[in-house]
Subunit: 189 residues, 2 copies
């Protein structure tokens, strides 16, 4: 997606071989017009899939997911990172954060993703794939069908995307980065 | 806002004199069409204010804030609840959660709310007012101007809204609840 690529080149900050900061338009400050364009693009790419529910993770996934849900006319569920007091018997999966070198759980109310649902998972980054795999596991646990995964920025060199594709999962990344280094952002051709 | 009121009556769950659960359309599962209608309404109510930035708190504030930002054509900043490694010298304020009886910090990058900005704060609930006061304090610290506060659901009986109004702050609540009890939701006239 050319619009997102150009925005990353303009406003993204490549801090190392691993880390791309996009917190002035995706992760902390948000550009709603760009996010709506992202929603339109995901709706187009997954229009074939009879998707009836979107699943994402708080907090950075919410904005692109809600715009996609708006464009597709379907509800969005965001997985929580802490268990609310009043939630009984939730769907739970575990994510390893390589950036922070910690594990955390993601939690979804069983009422909101169910057998018969056709689910599109949305997330901002795809790196080693741990968060995306946890979303897939939530969908599996629920008995719903996974239609695919929509990603804003795939760091291809960290391998998570291809691991998922090898399992037969449709992964649509709006931008794909081949290489990062301080001040360098190189997209795949 | 009649649409939101009817939705609360249909899908909200009043669990006690204090707690209203709206997690099937606002807090966990989201209805993007309803959220867009909310964005349109906030844009209308604050159209006079030359607002150029929206400030909210992760995670539940993000969806209504990004829809409002879309309708107004301006960026959204969401305050974080934990300090990212790479953020230096942030704006910080403290929130007391009466539901969980804990305190937490909210954190905003100083680059994104600045002197000269005219800020609209958006949040899902207004109860005792601690989160809204923390947002006001972030705006004050930054040197920006607070135009007002937009709230989806004000629990009027918990007093936070009127405390803010007494300080001369414009608070626009889309729905105002006078009384809650198990199975009872009574709106203000």
């Amino acid at each position: 997606m050319e619009l997102l690529k150009q925005r990353i080149l303009r406003d993204g900050k490549s801090l190392s071989k691993e880390v791309l900061r996009v917190d002035n338009f995706i992760n902390h400050q948000l550009d709603p017009q760009l996010l709506m364009a992202i929603g339109v693009e995901f709706a187009r790419r997954f229009s074939y899939g009879r998707v009836n529910k979107i699943l994402t993770i708080e907090a950075s996934g919410i904005a692109p997911a809600v715009m996609t849900g708006y464009c597709m006319g379907i509800p969005v569920v965001f997985a929580k990172k802490s268990l609310p007091k009043t939630m009984e018997n939730p769907l739970v999966s575990s994510v390893h954060s390589f950036t922070k070198d910690t594990d955390y759980s993601i939690i979804v109310n069983r009422d909101y993703i169910k057998k018969g649902d056709r689910v599109l998972c949305i997330d901002d980054f795809l790196a080693y794939g741990s968060a995306a795999e946890a979303l897939c596991e939530i969908v599996e646990q629920s008995g719903a069908t996974l239609v695919g995964i929509g990603i804003l920025i795939e760091k291809v060199f960290q391998g998570g995307g291809n691991k998922l594709r090898e399992r037969g999962i449709r992964v649509e990344s709006l931008t794909r980065i081949e290489e990062l280094d301080e001040g360098v952002i190189k997209f795949c051709e």
